[in-house]
């Protein structure tokens, strides 16, 4: 990972959030490796995504289903569509193995999702496990820990 400066790693996280808020979901999906997961645990400090429930534990196929669904003509729950707003604290580099080309960043965030007249605020921490593929940074795991992950929620339609 010698190719990437700390600033480039941090900017990658900002850019990812911006793609989501601009609803450029196909571009966003391209940031993930083929074996990637997007994980939203249901419990604080959850270690196991398989034998404990999560809000989301999606591989790339399921993420693609979500993205294509958002664009579907008969996706009534997105008529009208939701919008999102990410407010990120500066990401911190938690771990970096520059020889292996991998690193982990942690980012505190506030996330707003709106639809019609309802606006809902979520807060938590995103953890990005990044790898280098063909000279570019890619996400192998994005973990989103909500501060109230075990609360009852209404529909969460987009991506944090």
């Amino acid at each position: 990972m010698t190719a990437f400066t700390d600033k480039q790693l941090v900017d990658f996280v900002y850019a990812e959030a911006r793609l989501l808020d601009e609803q450029r979901f196909d571009d966003w999906l391209n940031l993930f490796t083929e074996d990637a997961h997007y994980w939203m645990p249901l419990a604080p400090d959850q270690q196991d995504p398989r034998l404990h429930a999560s809000l989301l534990y999606e591989d790339k196929l399921l993420l693609r289903v979500r993205v294509e669904r958002l664009a579907g003509a008969r996706t009534y729950s997105q008529q009208p569509r939701s919008r999102s707003h990410h407010l990120l604290q500066q990401p911190s580099i938690e771990r970096a193995d520059r020889d292996a080309g991998t690193c982990t960043l942690r980012t505190a965030f506030h996330y707003l999702e709106t639809r019609l007249d309802t606006q809902t605020l979520y807060a938590g921490w995103a953890t990005h496990e990044l790898v280098t593929e063909n000279g570019a940074l890619r996400i192998r795991l994005k973990r989103v820990d909500l501060v109230n992950c075990d609360a009852a929620f209404g529909s969460i339609n987009l991506f944090m």
Binding site: M40, L42, A43, R50, L51, H52, A53, S54, L55, L56, Y57, D59, L61, L62, R64, V65, R66, E68, R69, G72, R74, T75, Y76, S77, D150, A151, A152, F153, G154, S155, I156, N157
Partner: protein, 452 residues
């Protein structure tokens, strides 16, 4: 004058042979009457005994809108108490679950109660000498609910002390719980994996109606399951079918499939889809599981247990059980237009972990607040909750495949798109709404000397 309180005739008139009045979904007075009557006269699921394995273990929840605590008593029985200190009203058990030891202690004034609710001690008790304390409600401790029945570890309660018996209420519908339990090689279930909680701004009955509504999946879930099937078709040939696609795909099966899978209607509002076939029938075998089942039950019985592929079983009034995928959903009423949906999952004790993993994946894909299938459903419920305010139409139609001869028939299997099960629920709704409704409302609990 109120529209429905003390007027069983007016309540009865809301349910016709093939139509139901919109007030069942939008009228807050009717909702309050449901809490007072329907949820007090029926056997309502509280929790599973595996949530309170040890003495003093408790779990707090609601029955209707009543706060209750389910607790393992010192004699190992499971008690259900109203979670309310008889002194000033404070909820005594505060956590969702925990262990209270030998007694509950109220955080306000340190009154303590045995785990059957009886009053154990009061600080400065002598201050109640010669005050008539013994004849006060408070001296009797935390109130137990009217009746509790634990069936194969599923704990149900009836808030009213008198009423329909457990066996009479459920009858042969308990076979769905039997089947889920028997799917464990050890005949034992454990609540496992956490609970998904999804807030709905709609009436609780919309969710109950939906459980046996087999004409909506191919329409409402075209966006989610339909997209999953389409995306999967683009995968290179020879790619193994992912578990998620296997779980999603049957949601967009044809009308003919759902007609053919059948619905069985029991008495008292209970019924299930998936008599001959179901969306859970064609999952891949889990390595080693059949062998375990054969070893436990013998080949014939094991195949019989696993061949029962019931889809959704409604236990009226407010839960749904899926035996083949080990989930139980509670539709918890909060207001006429607000419902909390809890989706619980079970481990089949002794069976491979992969079964629990599949159960949790199903629950996440279909029942989470982040679930695309859940989004499809909630959107139509919430649109209905708003649409029902319209004056142009006052009734909801539940007349699909209605036959006047169906009245009084129970334990009948029929076409899978028949709305008979919904009509069954509404007939039970009328029965248990009006069973304890006096035409001239008096409040006996307020009449001095009538307390028991």
């Amino acid at each position: 004058m109120s529209k429905y309180e003390g007027r069983p005739d007016a309540v009865t008139a809301l349910v016709r042979d093939t139509e139901v009045h919109k007030d069942l979904y939008i009228d807050q007075e009717l909702f309050e009457l449901e809490m007072e009557h329907l949820f007090a006269n029926t056997w309502v699921y509280v929790g599973h005994a595996s949530q309170v394995p040890n003495k003093g273990d408790y779990y707090t929840t609601t029955v209707g809108t009543e706060p209750v605590v389910m607790v393992r008593h010192s004699d190992d029985s499971v008690k259900v108490l109203y979670n309310r200190c008889p002194h000033k009203g404070t909820k005594v058990a505060g956590e969702v679950c925990g262990n209270t030891g030998k007694f509950f202690r109220c955080p306000y004034h340190a009154w303590t109660f045995k785990t059957d609710g009886s009053l154990l001690s009061v600080p400065l008790k002598k201050g109640y000498d010669n005050t008539g304390f013994e004849s006060c409600e408070a001296s009797r401790g935390m109130a137990p609910v009217g009746a509790v029945h634990t069936y194969r570890d599923f704990v149900f309660c009836r808030l009213n002390a008198e009423g329909v018996g457990f066996d009479e209420f459920f009858g042969p519908s308990l076979s769905t719980l039997d089947n889920m339990v028997e799917r464990s090689p050890e005949g034992k279930l454990q609540v496992a994996g956490g609970v998904l909680r999804y807030m709905h701004h709609c009436n609780w009955k919309m969710l109950v109606d939906n459980q046996t509504d087999t004409c909506h999946p191919m329409v409402a879930h075209e966006s989610s399951a339909g997209t999953a099937v389409r995306v999967w078709k683009e995968a290179p040939e020879g790619t193994p079918k992912p578990m998620a696609v296997e779980l999603f795909a049957p949601f967009v099966n044809s009308y003919e499939f759902f007609e053919g899978m059948g619905i069985r209607v029991w008495d008292n509002g209970h019924g299930h889809t998936g008599v001959a076939d179901s969306i859970h029938a064609a999952y891949s075998p889990v390595p080693g599981y059949l062998e375990q089942m054969v070893a436990a039950y013998g080949e014939e019985r094991a195949k019989q247990i696993l061949g029962e592929v019931r889809h959704n079983t409604v236990y009226f009034p407010n839960i749904m059980v899926k035996g083949p995928i080990q989930t139980l959903r509670r539709f918890l009423p909060i207001a006429a237009d607000k419902t909390l949906v809890e989706s619980w999952t079970f481990r089949l004790v002794g069976a491979p972990d992969l079964l629990l993993e599949r159960t949790l994946m199903y629950n996440r894909l279909v029942n989470a607040p982040t679930s695309v299938v859940g989004h499809d459903d909630l959107e139509v419920y919430e649109r209905a909750q708003e649409g029902l305010r319209a004056r142009g139409r006052d009734w909801i139609n539940v007349g699909r495949l209605y036959d006047p001869a169906e009245r009084g028939q129970v334990n009948v299997a029929t076409n899978g798109t028949n709305e008979w099960q919904m009509r069954n629920q509404f007939r039970a709704w009328t029965r248990y709404m009006t069973a304890s409704m006096s035409p001239n409302p008096v409040r006996p609990e307020l009449v001095e000397g009538s307390a028991s």
